[in-house]
């Protein structure tokens, strides 16, 4: 008789840990390949188009980057707030307001030339996101109002603010009455250098370094970590909750606003209605990215790229393989679940016993 037992692991090496993650990811891909076989597709064809092409075709890689960069930048901001024990889901709204601020800058200072114009647009976006996050921050810090609710509400208010502008004062006279703003001036449009979105990629990488420094090296990051893992001890050491709440939300807001400004200047170039807005719901995807990265700034790099690749893969499934939306959801589900399932194998081990 065989007996399989699931036992808790009390010690694990980093090497084993990382190989469990890699193995889980590959298992996810293999399970998805199996599902494709059942679906009736040629798994070799599917796998090469989904996982090989993005690495060999530059045009395909670009699509991944276009989503990975904003997701990653926002996830970095969330990493900080989540470490402090504050569960903001407001990146979406902060991103939208970041785009509004960047757009305003572009319309108001249309005479400024690049690169100054780009820099001020990005900074304005960061400022916008920061201000938008400040209200939930103050409510949390002073009155301990649940930030999950306030940040979610502020997302909707941000959508409404965008709607107000595109249906009202910012509605372009040349859009035949459609709810659109004017395209931002050319001097504010970020163009790729030789086909490579250099500014976007370097902003992302700089953000990783910056967030790493904030969390791991700075006094504030120290306070945040102390607060997040033991609020009582942090309080008795005199760390101010108001400061932690306010700054965490402000910084994550600034990162989200920066992402919004970046998407406006490099991808969308104007504001429009919610369904085709600058945010595209990426503010919510960033939450997944932050947790997938285990709240470690370095790991946001691969997690954001993975999520960007999944969005890209979803488009490939529909546009290239001609498979329905459902298959996209299966792919996302299978691969993300496999990675999350790795935690189980990190915490537990299987023992097979043979008994007479």
């Amino acid at each position: 008789m065989f007996e399989i037992r699931i036992l808790r692991r009390y010690e694990i090496t980093n090497k084993l840990k990382s190989s469990i993650y890699v193995a889980s990811f590959i298992t996810g891909i293999l399970i998805f390949a199996l599902i494709e076989v059942i679906y009736g597709a040629n798994p070799y064809d599917v796998m090469s188009k989904l996982f090989v092409k993005p690495l060999t075709s530059y045009a395909d890689l670009q699509i991944t980057i276009r989503y990975a960069v904003p997701i990653g930048i926002m996830a970095l901001g969330l990493t900080l707030t989540y470490k402090s024990g504050i569960y903001s889901i407001g990146s979406e709204g902060q991103m939208a307001v970041g785009a509004i601020f960047a757009a305003w800058t572009a319309y108001a200072f249309n005479y400024i030339e690049p690169p100054t114009s780009i820099v001020i647009a990005l900074l304005a976006g960061a400022l916008g996101g920061l201000l938008w996050a400040l209200v939930p921050g103050i409510l949390k810090g002073l009155l301990n109002v649940n930030e999950v609710l306030t940040t979610l509400m502020f997302n909707f208010i941000a959508y409404s603010l965008t709607d107000y502008l595109i249906y009202g004062p910012w509605r372009s006279p040349r859009a035949y009455g459609f709810p659109l703003t004017e395209p931002i001036p050319k001097s504010y449009v970020i163009l790729p250098t030789d086909g490579i979105p250099v500014i976007n990629i370097s902003t992302f990488i700089l953000s990783v370094f910056l967030m790493y420094a904030i969390i791991k090296k700075s006094v504030f990051g120290y306070q945040v970590r102390a607060y997040g893992s033991n609020p009582t001890a942090a309080k008795s050491a005199g760390i101010s909750f108001l400061k932690v709440a306010l700054l965490c939300l402000a910084i994550s807001g600034a990162f989200a606003g920066l992402a919004g400004a970046l998407q406006l200047t490099s991808v969308h170039n104007r504001l429009g209605p919610k369904s085709w807005s600058v945010t595209e719901g990426l503010g919510y995807t960033a939450i997944v990215s932050a947790w997938l990265a285990r709240l470690e700034p370095w790991f946001v790099l691969p997690s954001a790229i993975l999520l960007g690749a999944l969005i890209n893969g979803g488009l490939t499934i529909k546009a290239v393989l001609g498979q329905p939306e459902g298959v996209v959801n299966i792919m996302n589900g299978v691969i993300l679940l496999s990675i999350i399932a790795a935690d189980f194998f990190i915490n537990y081990r299987f023992v097979i016993k043979v008994r007479e």
Binding site: E3, R5, L7, R8, Y10, E11, A213, K217, S218, V219, F220, Y222, Q223, R225, A226, S229, N230, T232, A233, A234, K235, S236, A237, G238, I239, S240, V351
Partner: protein, 523 residues
């Protein structure tokens, strides 16, 4: 699943001197650190066996191996002479080996019987809350355990929770009960009660492995003592074959340093009457978490160079008092003045600035951030000193931490190890090192040596005396009467939220204080 333990114990074979558990040559390494090396341990049926050693000697590692939480790198474990592999607590339980957890995992909002019912069910022992009640009633008669099965766990004291855990172990048919530092949080009365239960268990033929760092405790209750030092067994023989001095030397690795608490040579110069008051508390009223008045009209002054001890049975407002002084609990009425500054309504930060050091009672909750490293915890109150341009100079921190690790003899794998991996005594040493390094003017210490081994406790006390000599005023809230008597210049007894009795050091005796603590004496 599993072996039916009853039948298992009915037919012991390969009996070697009737050992219920026999450990031979067990070693365990964590990277380059040796936790255990070649440890032998033999426990007989119907024996109370003490495993004695300092913090960090490897006692807890050994227990974790016996309970299937760690796997040994070498050596064998036999139960009644049969070699076994213990891969999980479930395995251990199936062999009749049960660990009575130091911090029982109980669901606060459920009753005792519901908790036990759930806990047993998850292990495959189906018991309804009603049948649990029956069992508890039976045990209360048999062993003198007095838990009310219908009471909600949140209303239980620490010792009552421990009793619940003991009941759970017995319901699992434990033949060998392992207790890891069970008396750490107990008052002397509660400790006596626990020991009487253990003796009754022994009379019924069950075995007990008592893990402790307290020499006196080991000699008081055990039949056999095995001494563990730095991961190795230094002696193992019947209790009556040791002398006290010999035991102390066996336990403490560097016996020369240790001279006993009372012999520390310091000036007990009487506090000069003109010494400034560093802490003054006037008519303080504080409420507890459920809104009851915990501190009522408490007044006290601590002068520079003075130690004032507050004795009392726990639960008489000491916790709320210390939290109020530290700035963690709102004051309803009254004043708290530190070094001349009225800080009644200020936060902890201002109090730290004014020169207050706080050594809290629940060190894991208030004292340290378990998920952060030793170094990061070391600077919890002084990170400002290590920062420049908003960044923390980790190199300098580590230099200082290493110094403290050495001078305070903190046993750790290094400054980057997470604090939660340290033993309780070493965490306390770290907190004391942190709190005292900035030469505070006022030290508020609540049960500062609780759970510390002899040498660490002596070190902490020595440091208090040194701080006193340097002019600090110390408010020592402690349930350890000997400690209060030894260290304090003046002793106040706290009963039901206020000071009911005061006595000078020279006049204090244990007997008088114990009566005062029970509210039998008034000023």
């Amino acid at each position: 699943m599993g072996v039916n333990q009853t039948t298992f114990f009915m037919k012991p074979h390969g009996d070697e001197n009737n050992y219920i558990l026999s450990v031979t040559g067990v070693s365990k390494f964590f990277g380059s650190i040796t936790a255990l090396r070649g440890v032998d341990l033999n426990i007989r049926v119907g024996e109370i066996h003490a495993l004695l050693g300092e913090n960090g000697a490897g006692k807890t590692t050994l227990v974790n191996i016996l309970y299937g939480l760690y796997r040994p790198d070498a050596g064998s474990i036999k139960v009644f002479g049969n070699e076994v592999r213990i891969n999980s607590p479930k395995d251990a339980i199936s062999y009749g080996i049960v660990l009575v957890q130091q911090h029982p995992m109980l669901i606060d909002k459920m009753t005792v019987s519901e908790n036990l019912s759930i806990g047993l069910r998850s292990l495959g022992y189906l018991k309804s809350p009603n049948s649990v009640k029956e069992v508890i009633k039976e045990y209360s008669i048999r062993y003198g355990i007095s838990v009310d099965p219908d009471i909600t766990v949140s209303n239980l004291s620490f010792s009552e929770r421990q009793e619940v855990e003991l009941v759970r172990a017995l319901m699992l048919n434990a033949q060998l009960l392992m207790l890891d530092e069970p008396t750490t949080m107990l008052t002397s009365y509660e400790r006596k009660k626990l020991f009487s239960v253990l003796r009754k268990l022994k009379d019924e033929g069950k075995s007990v492995l008592l893990i402790t760092h307290k020499v006196m405790e080991a000699t008081e209750i055990s039949d056999w003592i095995t001494v563990l030092r730095k991961g190795e067994v230094t002696a193992s023989r019947p209790t009556n074959k040791y002398t006290l001095d010999e035991l102390v030397k066996l336990v403490v690795s560097d016996a020369g340093v240790f001279n006993g608490v009372r012999s520390v040579k310091f000036d007990y110069n009487v506090v000069k009457s003109q010494s400034p008051e560093v802490l003054s508390i006037k008519d303080l009223i504080v409420v507890n978490d459920v809104g009851g008045v915990a501190v009522r009209g408490f007044s006290l002054a601590v002068k520079s160079g003075e130690i004032i001890g507050i004795a009392g049975v726990s639960g008489n407002g000491q916790k709320e008092l210390s939290e109020a002084i530290a700035g963690l609990r709102k004051v309803v009425d009254g004043r708290i003045v530190i070094c001349g500054q009225d800080l009644t309504n200020k936060g902890p930060k201002d109090r730290v600035k004014a020169g207050l050091a706080y050594i809290p009672e629940e060190r894991l909750k208030y004292g340290v951030v378990g998920d952060m490293s030793v170094a990061e915890n070391y600077i919890l109150k002084s990170y400002g000193q290590y920062s420049g341009f908003g960044l923390i100079n980790m190199r300098k921190v580590i230099e200082d931490v290493n110094e403290s690790i050495e001078s305070f003899n903190i046993i750790t794998r290094g400054p980057l190890e997470k604090v939660k991996a340290l033993s309780g005594g070493n965490i306390q040493k770290l907190i004391v090192a942190r709190e005292l390094r900035s030469n505070p003017k006022v030290i508020l210490a609540h049960n500062p040596t609780l759970g510390l081994d002899l040498r660490s406790a002596a070190l902490v006390r020595e440091l208090f005396l040194k701080a006193k000599a340097d002019g600090a005023g110390i408010l020592l809230i402690s349930e350890d009467l000997d400690e209060v008597i030894t260290l304090s210049d003046k002793i106040a007894v706290m009963y039901k939220g206020s000071i009911t009795y005061e006595i000078n050091k020279n006049e204090a005796s244990r007997d008088v204080l114990e009566r005062a603590m029970l509210g039998l004496l008034n000023v």
